[in-house]
C-alpha cells in the first residue's frame, strides 16, 4: 500500500512538472498581453511532431529533438504574432477576438496535423530507456529527464525574467502597460518576445508530455484544459501561484486517478477550482484586480 501511494505521489510529481511548464507559458502570455492563447495545446502538438520529424525524418540523434522542436514552434509563435495577434491588437474587441482567433488557429492546426501526419499515434523519440527501483517505486530515466528538463526550463525562465533587461521590460508591461510604454518599452517587441517565450515553453512541454503518452493530432487538448485549471487555481498572470497550483493539481490528478479512475480527474479538478473560486475569486494566490475606470 505504501509503495502504491509512493508511486502515485511520484507520478503526480512528474505530471506537476509538465503542467507547471505549460501553465507558466499560458499565464505569462495572459499576464503580459491579456491574450488567452487557446492554440497553446496545438503548439504543444506541433512541438511534439517537430521533434519526431527532426529525429525520424532528418535522422539526427534523439537529443536534437527538443532544440529542433523549440525552434520550429518559436517560428509558429512569431507567425501567430505577425499574421494574427499583431493586427488584431490594433482593432476593436481585442480580448474576445484573440480568444476566438486562437481557437480557430488551434482547430486549423489540429486538422492540418491530421491531414499531414495521419491519425496514427507516433512515439516520441526524445526519450531514454531504463529504470531504477527505489523503495519499491520504479523510477524511469525518462521521468528523471522530464523533471530535469522542466525544472531547468523554469529556472532559465526565472533568470531571464528577473535578471535580464528584456525580462524587466516584460514584467513592467505586465504591471502597467501604459506606464511601460511611456518609459520607452516598445509594445510590439514585448508582444513578440512573450509569444516566442510562451511558444518555446509549449514546445518543451509538448515534447516532454508526449514522451509519457503518444503523439497524436489532438493530444494537446486535455493537457491544455488542465493547465487552464492550474492557471485559474493559481491566479491568471501570477507565476509563483501557478507553480504551487501545478503541484496541487498534478498530485490531485494522480490521487484521483488511483482512487476513482482516470475519467474523474478533470471533474474533480474542476470541482476543487470552483470551490476555491467561490471563496477567492482571483485564484489561490491571485491579487485582487483593481478595475480601472
Amino acid at each position: 500500500m505504501a509503495a502504491i501511494i509512493a508511486q502515485t505521489l511520484y507520478s503526480g510529481l512528474v505530471l506537476s512538472a509538465v503542467y507547471a511548464l505549460m501553465a507558466v507559458g499560458l499565464t505569462l502570455i495572459w499576464g503580459a498581453l491579456r491574450v488567452l492563447n487557446l492554440s497553446h495545446g496545438a503548439f504543444m502538438m506541433i512541438g511534439a511532431y517537430a521533434s519526431w520529424l527532426v529525429v525520424s525524418e532528418l535522422e539526427l540523434p534523439w537529443y536534437f529533438g527538443l532544440p529542433g522542436s523549440v525552434l520550429v514552434v518559436i517560428v509558429f509563435g512569431a507567425a501567430l504574432y505577425f499574421l494574427l495577434l499583431g493586427p488584431l491588437s490594433r482593432r476593436p474587441a481585442f480580448e474576445n477576438n484573440t480568444f476566438i482567433a486562437t481557437a480557430a488557429v488551434a482547430s486549423a492546426l489540429e486538422a492540418g496535423a491530421l491531414v499531414y501526419f495521419g491519425p496514427r499515434n507516433k512515439a516520441q523519440p526524445f526519450a531514454v530507456d531504463g529504470a531504477i527501483q527505489i523503495m519499491g517505486v520504479s523510477i524511469t530515466f525518462q521521468h528523471i529527464l522530464i523533471v530535469l528538463v522542466a525544472v531547468a526550463a523554469l529556472f532559465a525562465l526565472d533568470l531571464f525574467l528577473k535578471r535580464s533587461r528584456y525580462g524587466l521590460a516584460i514584467r513592467a508591461t505586465a504591471q502597467q502597460p501604459e506606464a511601460a510604454q511611456l518609459m520607452g518599452i516598445r509594445k510590439d517587441t514585448i508582444f513578440l518576445l512573450v509569444l516566442a517565450l510562451s511558444s518555446g515553453l509549449a514546445s518543451i512541454s509538448g515534447v516532454l508530455l508526449s514522451s509519457i503518452y503518444f503523439i497524436s493530432p489532438v493530444f494537446g487538448l486535455y493537457p491544455m484544459l488542465k493547465s487552464f485549471i492550474v492557471c485559474i487555481f493559481g491566479g491568471l498572470g501570477n507565476m509563483r501561484g501557478t507553480l504551487y497550483a501545478a503541484v496541487v493539481i498534478g498530485m490531485t490528478e494522480a490521487l484521483v486517478s488511483l482512487m476513482l479512475g482516470v475519467q474523474f480527474a478533470l471533474p474533480v479538478m474542476l470541482g476543487i477550482v470552483i470551490g476555491v473560486l467561490i471563496f477567492r475569486p482571483h485564484g489561490l494566490f491571485g491579487k485582487q484586480e483593481i478595475v480601472r475606470l
Binding site: L88, R91, I100, A101, Q263, L266
Partner: protein, 343 residues
C-alpha cells in the same frame, strides 16, 4: 430604441420563404440541411444573446445543447416517455444546469468565465463518454427513443416535412425571443452595464443577477432546440461535444457579427454553405472554416452584418450637399447644431 417591426417582418418573411421550400425542392438532403440551419441559427442567436449582448464569454452552450438531446433520449430509452412530452422538461433541465454552471462562473470575469465554462463543457463530455452504467450509453450514445409521431401521422415519405415545419417554428421562436430579450429591460440593463458599469451599478443594476438571468433563460431555449435536434436525428452521442462543434458555432457568431440581430442567421448560412462546398474534402473543412473566421476577424472585427450596416449607412448618407456636424460644448444649451450648407 429602434423600431421592432422591420426585424419581425423580415424574420416572418424568412420563415415563409423557408416554408414554401418543399414545394420546389423535395430532396430529403436539402430539407435536412434546412432543418440543421433552423436549429443551429436558433441556438447561435441565443448564444449571441449571452456573448454579444450580455458580454458573458461562455463556451458551455454546446454542452447544454447536447444535454437537451440527452435528457429526451434518457427519458425515452429508460422510462419510455415520448419526446413530445419531454421536450419542455428538457428545456427546464437545461435551464437548471445553466443556473448551476452560472452560479459560480458568472461571479468571475471574461477570461476566467471562458476557461471555466470550457472546462465545464469537457467535464460533461467526459462524464458522458466514460459512463459505463448504461444511463447515457457511453461512447455509443443512445438511439431508439421514439419520435414526435410524424411518421404515424404523415407516413414515412412525408415524415421529414413534419420535422421541417417544427424546425421552422423552433427557429422562429428562438430568434424572436433572443431579439425581444435584447429589447427588453434586460437588454437595456446590459447596454447600460457596457456603457458605464459604475453608473449602472450605482443605479442598482446588478451585473451578476442579470447575467445569471439571461444565462438561465437562454439555457432553457437551447435545451429545447437540443431536444428537438436529438429527436430529429433519432440519435444522441458524444461526438456533439467535439471541439469542432464549439468552433463551428463560434465561427457562425463571429462571421455573422457578435451582438448583431441578423448576425447569427447570416453567419450560420455562410458556415453551412462553406461546409457544403467542402463536402468532398471533409478533412480540410476545419482548416477552411478557421481561415474564414480569422480573415473575417481581421477585416471586419465586428462581423459581416455590422460591416453591412456601416455600408448601408454610408450609402444612405445625405448626398448632394455636405453636412457638417459641429459640436458646440461651450454654449449653454449644449445641443448639436447643424451648420448651414457651405457654399
Amino acid at each position: 430604441m429602434t423600431n421592432a417591426r422591420p426585424f419581425i417582418v423580415g424574420l416572418l418573411s424568412l420563415c415563409l420563404a423557408l416554408g414554401v421550400l418543399p414545394l420546389f425542392i423535395s430532396s430529403r438532403y436539402v430539407l435536412d440541411l434546412a432543418i440543421t440551419f433552423c436549429v443551429w441559427a436558433g441556438v447561435v442567436s441565443q448564444w449571441n444573446l449571452v456573448m454579444g449582448q450580455a458580454g458573458i464569454f461562455s463556451l458551455v452552450q454546446v454542452a447544454i445543447f447536447s444535454l437537451g438531446g440527452y435528457f429526451t433520449a434518457v427519458m425515452g430509452v429508460h422510462f419510455g416517455i415520448p419526446p413530445l412530452v419531454t421536450i419542455v422538461p428538457a428545456g427546464v433541465f437545461c435551464a437548471l444546469f445553466g443556473l448551476l454552471i452560472g452560479l459560480p462562473c458568472l461571479r468571475l470575469r471574461k477570461a476566467y468565465v471562458a476557461l471555466l465554462t470550457l472546462a465545464a463543457h469537457y467535464v460533461v463530455y467526459l462524464l458522458i463518454y466514460a459512463d459505463n452504467s448504461g444511463l447515457t450509453g457511453g461512447s455509443y450514445g443512445l438511439y431508439g427513443f421514439g419520435d414526435f409521431g410524424f411518421r404515424a401521422l404523415l407516413s414515412a415519405r412525408y415524415e421529414i416535412l413534419g420535422s421541417f415545419y417544427s424546425a421552422i417554428v423552433i427557429f422562429f421562436v428562438l430568434v424572436l425571443v433572443a431579439y425581444l430579450i435584447s429589447r427588453s429591460p434586460l437588454g437595456l440593463a446590459f447596454r447600460a452595464l457596457r456603457d458605464s458599469e459604475v453608473y449602472a451599478s450605482a443605479r442598482g443594476i446588478s451585473r451578476y443577477h442579470y447575467q445569471l438571468l439571461v444565462f438561465t433563460i437562454t439555457s432553457f431555449f437551447i435545451g429545447i432546440a437540443g431536444s428537438f435536434y436529438g429527436t430529429h436525428l433519432k440519435l444522441v452521442d458524444p461526438t456533439g461535444f467535439e471541439f469542432g462543434t464549439v468552433m463551428t458555432m463560434l465561427a457562425m457568431m463571429v462571421i455573422g457579427g457578435q451582438g448583431h440581430r441578423w448576425g447569427p442567421l447570416l453567419g450560420c448560412a455562410l458556415v453551412l454553405t462553406t461546409n457544403e462546398v467542402m463536402r468532398s474534402l471533409p478533412e480540410w473543412r476545419p482548416i477552411v472554416v478557421a481561415s474564414i473566421t480569422i480573415a473575417v476577424l481581421l477585416v471586419w472585427p465586428l462581423g459581416i452584418a455590422t460591416a453591412l450596416d456601416k455600408m448601408a449607412a454610408y450609402i444612405r448618407r445625405p448626398v448632394g450637399r455636405k453636412v457638417h456636424l459641429q459640436a458646440t460644448p461651450v454654449e449653454p444649451s449644449g445641443v448639436l447644431r447643424r451648420s448651414s450648407p457651405s457654399r
